[in-house]
Symmetry: C2
Subunit: 244 residues, 2 copies
Amino acid sequence: MTGRLYGLGLGPGDPELLTLKAARLLAAVPVIAYPHAEGGDSLARRIAAPHLPGGQIEIPIGLCMTTARRPAQDAYDAAAAAMTAHLAAGRDVAALCEGDPFFYSSFMYLFERLAARFPVEIVPGVSSLGAAAALARRPLAARNDGFAVVPAPLADAAIARRLEGAEGFAILKLGRHFARVKALLATLGLAEHCTYVENATMPGGRALPLAETGDEAPYFSLILGYRGTEPALRLRSRQAELSA
Amino acid sequence: MTGRLYGLGLGPGDPELLTLKAARLLAAVPVIAYPHAEGGDSLARRIAAPHLPGGQIEIPIGLCMTTARRPAQDAYDAAAAAMTAHLAAGRDVAALCEGDPFFYSSFMYLFERLAARFPVEIVPGVSSLGAAAALARRPLAARNDGFAVVPAPLADAAIARRLEGAEGFAILKLGRHFARVKALLATLGLAEHCTYVENATMPGGRALPLAETGDEAPYFSLILGYRGTEPALRLRSRQAELSA
């Protein structure tokens, strides 16, 4: 009997936005693994902390803050090997994931290494998108609107192409791309109704109109926008585009 | 002192996918409101039930299963009036929402009627998308991929336009549009890697390749797809499209 791998979504940061299922599993699994910035903290470990019974085996996945892919892949190789030993010995292992394990999460790197060999269960979590919308007090999408999620590291033309056709949109992973993306949204005529959100549900979290921001954004930040008027302010539906 | 309106996300159906915060608020608020199909059940009320203390005031929002907009708007007008009376009298009111309150939720109709007059707090929840991805065991989006959410009631050309540029996608609200959308995905060359998911996290929930489905789909169903190979099977990143 091998152990089971859990991809455990922990939500966007607020310890109260953990699910009942995640809390139950954190109290029960003998082994946890989590991303850990070198010389820094682990947000996932911090969200999970109040629910850990103590005495569990821990596998920190040391990630250096580089954009080079090879060191990160080496870290996932090493973590997957350590997790494999526990799973093969019959111990359940929970991989702790900020947000949702299958929505822009590094859990994918463990999943692709381990899913073919061990039983896997994914526990979905509240995503940073839902948290940002809640803080900004604006719906992401409604009725028959389309919604697009676009990572900021893409080049301008690639971002513009992915925004075409969507009514609601979110642009993630702003960081050093913030000023460029802001300028692009202005060029596309989409900047006016955008809201900037940083550190949603965490201490210091805030939401403000994009026009009132400076040129810098932290890693945990995103832009929410709507083509035209956002749905809560718009009472008519787009009947013309509906199928008969 | 007026009461506070909570937009309370309850997650996708599994009672364990409720957040700790939603559970705490359900035990504390004196008034709850929830959508209720005429002659039927309320999924939101059912998810919340284990956490209700008993004795709370309940405002069922009676929705008849029609696509006509006017009767639904009348029901929201009546519910908003009932909620206003409680809020004005200083009682907190929780609007129960399946999934997340700001992601294709009918909560928006209450929000647009009440947000200007009372303090509002949105409690995000696990969305049906995360639940579907977990059941299907496939990532929604990863790395620098774009992700598109598209409602099936749109006409073919409108759906196709919203899928352009996205790597990952989800098509919601299938119902009577299922056979048409399936044919469209085949025409667009996107059907091969699609997964069909129905009733994710609920009893009878299942995920299967789109090619193995019939021509009927229930209301709580969606299609998950990826343009090309899904991320867990694809080891190279799309470096060419990244900003310098």
